[in-house]
Point group: C2
């Protein structure tokens, strides 16, 4: 699969895909005879994984480290696990923060709904008044 297709498939720009590879966030993709990238199943799975992790805000630097460790085989399995665990906790913490914000937003929106309703009533009222005046 050429880079354009992979880009399409994941909704990641060509530039970003090349950038990820350049900084070691995804391992070097195989090339065809003329030097063009040819994404194989395994490459696509990595891209998918990285996309998923990035969409949740895991920092590139950490992911580079993790990917590097995976390349080193089973020897670093313990470290890999620890990285994931740490990131999992950070992610859960961020989500909790966001949940708080979500609750506040929901509350505010509700307050606004009421305020708008009152305002509309007031308008209706003044329209009535306007009608009376006419």
């Amino acid at each position: 699969m050429k880079i354009a297709e992979a880009s399409e498939r994941f909704g990641i720009s060509l530039d970003t895909l090349r950038y990820y590879e350049r900084i070691g966030l995804i391992r070097p993709v195989n090339r065809n005879e003329s030097g063009m990238r040819d994404y194989k199943e395994l490459d696509l799975r990595w891209v998918d994984f990285i996309k998923c992790m990035r969409s949740a805000g895991l920092p590139i630097e950490v992911l580079i480290e993790y990917v590097g460790l995976v390349q080193q085989g089973d020897r670093m399995i313990e470290t890999r696990k620890e990285i994931l665990k740490e990131q999992r906790e950070l992610l859960a913490a961020r989500m909790q923060e966001m949940q708080k914000t979500l609750d506040i937003l929901d509350h505010k929106i509700e307050v606004y709904e009421n305020a708008v309703l009152k305002k509309e009533k007031a308008i209706v009222q003044s329209e009535d008044q306007a009608l009376e005046i006419i």
Copy 2:
């Protein structure tokens, strides 16, 4: 309350507090006779709100717009509500993405736990073997 105390209270740097004010993310804070900021209850509440929204990743630009509309009084209440509703949806969507990632991380961590267990067993085994050899 002086800026240092506000900074302490919210865990936001002096620079960031001044920066937020400068770009209109929080309304101009009252000054004492010698030109120094004096945060009052209302200022603190705004800072708290902004801190909360920022911690959930709401973009500064949007918050500036919202804050500006609030300054304009009840006239823009409808627009304000729409902004909050839109941001609420975006936030919920981000959280859903993050939940997916969290699930994947949890799954991977579990797999790692098992892998590590197996590896430890293998080590124990080879230690036994080592003992046998000795």
